[in-house]
């Protein structure tokens, strides 16, 4: 098993063992509300990835001798600055889809990735490893959101990416946020049990 501090360990943790959504349950509100179908999920992850990556990258240069409270305020300020070009770029690429994100787009500035995980994990590492960790955490998050949205779209609408796949029954309850929470909970439980199963197999 790879050492947790090694590059392999960091990638494995970011993608699987500490997957931001399916294991840590981070930034799930926009997912259960917005990720109703595959294309909404693509918009969501584009917005999340842009804001989170550049905010964390720039925030890592904030000196550590500044008081913690001020540092957090500075991170959100940097997030707000990153938000402006991000929204301009995404509105150019996908104008209609970005509108559907509504309040959740600017709220990414204050996500737990930037507010808490930055201080407790990312900024404790060396710059290279931090960059690797951030990139793979974002990839882990994006992959989980895409998977979740695809499953949700199949169950709730009987389509995948807008293409009808002929599901015999459509469970419209999964279109609602409460249905999204239930589905995400079930997927997280399944993901954890698979991880546990693999771990046990390796131990044997």
């Amino acid at each position: 098993m790879a050492n947790d501090n090694s590059c392999k360990g960091i990638i494995k943790n970011a993608l699987l063992n500490k997957n931001p959504i399916l294991v840590s349950g981070m930034v799930i509100a926009p997912v259960v509300v917005m990720a109703n179908n595959f294309w909404d999920a693509v918009t969501l992850i584009a917005a999340f990835s842009l804001i989170t990556f550049f905010t964390l990258l720039i925030s890592s240069f904030v000196p550590k001798n500044i008081v913690y409270t001020i540092r957090i305020i500075l991170y959100t300020l940097i997030g707000a600055l990153v938000y402006v070009p991000s929204v301009i770029m995404l509105k150019y690429l996908m104008p209609d889809e970005v509108e559907t994100l509504g309040i959740f787009f600017p709220l990414f500035i204050t996500s737990s990735f930037i507010i808490s995980r930055s201080e407790s994990i990312f900024f404790m590492e060396t710059k290279g490893k931090m960059l690797l960790d951030i990139i793979f955490c974002i990839i882990g998050y994006d992959a989980a959101v895409l998977l979740f949205a695809a499953v949700r779209e199949i169950l709730a609408f009987g389509t995948i990416g807008g293409t009808i796949i002929g599901m015999p029954v459509q469970l419209s309850a999964f279109q609602n946020p409460f249905g999204g929470f239930i589905l995400l909970g079930l997927m997280a439980a399944l993901f954890r049990s698979i991880l546990l199963f693999v771990k046990r197999l390796r131990q044997k």
Partner: protein
């Protein structure tokens, strides 16, 4: 509490099962083979899903009849015309999500049958909330023609605040609605039987009955017939007996049971007054059951404090996690005395 009065879970479940089988028999008399099929699907799927979940979780499955009760309860809450796949989905949701996801039998925070019903009602409102008339010929095929279906007696009553229904019909449940929830007379007998057998909490039941009765009495200008319609509609009486008084979610202390009854009644009143939802009792059960668990915790810590002062809880030098632990220690102390 006298040891003779302490009922085992299995004994409570058996009592519930007997009563539910009687009600199911009445449903079969009203709706024929279609009722057998729907109840069969919910019960069968519940039992099979529960067995699979228990095996996957390496749990013992002996003497486990709770899935049977969930399946029967769920079946009786359904329309006789509901497609079989909807009944099956409700059963799977009830067992997998509402029961096993929370740790299995005895650890649920919601009534499984109520959760399963609500999920399906949100997925298939057209199928779940339209009903055939009693004694009408319903085809056994999965999908029933909408021509023989109509809205429920409850929805008419909610809109018009009156109903063209005789006293006898209201008592025997001869109106369109869920298969097994409108038999007022049978429900009353069931309630008395279960309370005499101590399988249902009389405190909770009578608190709910008194508060909801008073609400209906004043809401419908002291019209007794309307009070009767109120109790026979929207699965209210059924919900009070089989859902809110479900032993696996009901609080364990008397004071908590009383407050739980008040919370349930308050939820029903709020839903009834401010929404047009047909099945207020189901929503009320879902909301009040987690509150009931919290009430138990509060009552427990309060009881701990009082008993420690009295010196009854000498052995309890750490906070107890469950009311049964407090009761056990109190019993041991009394035996020592």
């Amino acid at each position: 509490m006298n040891s003779k009065e302490v009922k085992t879970k299995l004994s409570i479940m058996t009592d519930m099962l007997i009563v539910l089988i009687v009600i199911a028999a009445m449903s079969v008399y009203y709706y024929g083979l279609r009722a057998v099929a729907v109840i069969g699907v919910t019960t069968g799927v519940c039992v099979v899903t529960d067995f699979i979940c228990c095996k996957l979780r390496n749990k013992d499955y002996e003497k486990e009849i709770s899935a049977l009760i969930t399946g029967l309860t769920l079946g009786l809450m359904m329309s006789a015309s509901v497609p079989y796949y909807a009944a099956a989905i409700a059963a799977v949701f009830a067992i997998v999500v509402a029961k096993h996801a929370f740790g299995g039998h005895g650890c649920e925070i919601f009534n499984s049958a109520a959760a399963g019903f609500l999920f399906t009602a949100l997925c298939f409102p057209q199928n779940m909330l339209t009903y055939p008339k009693a004694f009408s010929e319903i085809p056994i095929s999965s999908v029933v023609s909408p021509d023989i279906l109509s809205s429920s007696f409850t929805s008419t009553f909610l809109v018009t605040k009156s109903a063209d229904l005789s006293l006898i019909d209201a008592f025997i449940g001869k109106f369109s609605g869920p298969m097994g929830t409108g038999f007022v007379l049978l429900m009353c007998v069931a309630a008395v039987f279960l309370m005499l057998r101590r399988s249902v909490s009389a405190i909770t039941f009578f608190t709910e009955l008194a508060l909801l009765g008073a609400y209906a009495f004043f809401k419908y200008d002291k019209d007794i017939m309307c009070v009767l319609y109120f109790f026979s509609s929207g699965m209210l009486l059924f919900g009070m007996i089989f859902l809110s008084c479900d032993y696996s979610i009901i609080p364990k202390t008397r004071s908590s049971r009383f407050i739980y009854g008040v919370v349930f009644a308050a939820c029903v009143i709020i839903f009834h007054s401010y929404s047009s939802t047909e099945n207020a009792a189901i929503y009320a059960v879902i909301i009040s059951s987690p509150i009931g668990i919290e009430l138990d915790r509060r009552a427990l810590s309060f009881a701990d404090m009082i008993n420690k002062r009295k010196g009854l809880l000498k052995k309890a030098n750490k906070p107890l996690n469950h009311i049964s632990e407090t009761l056990e220690i109190l019993e041991t102390n009394e035996q020592e005395k």
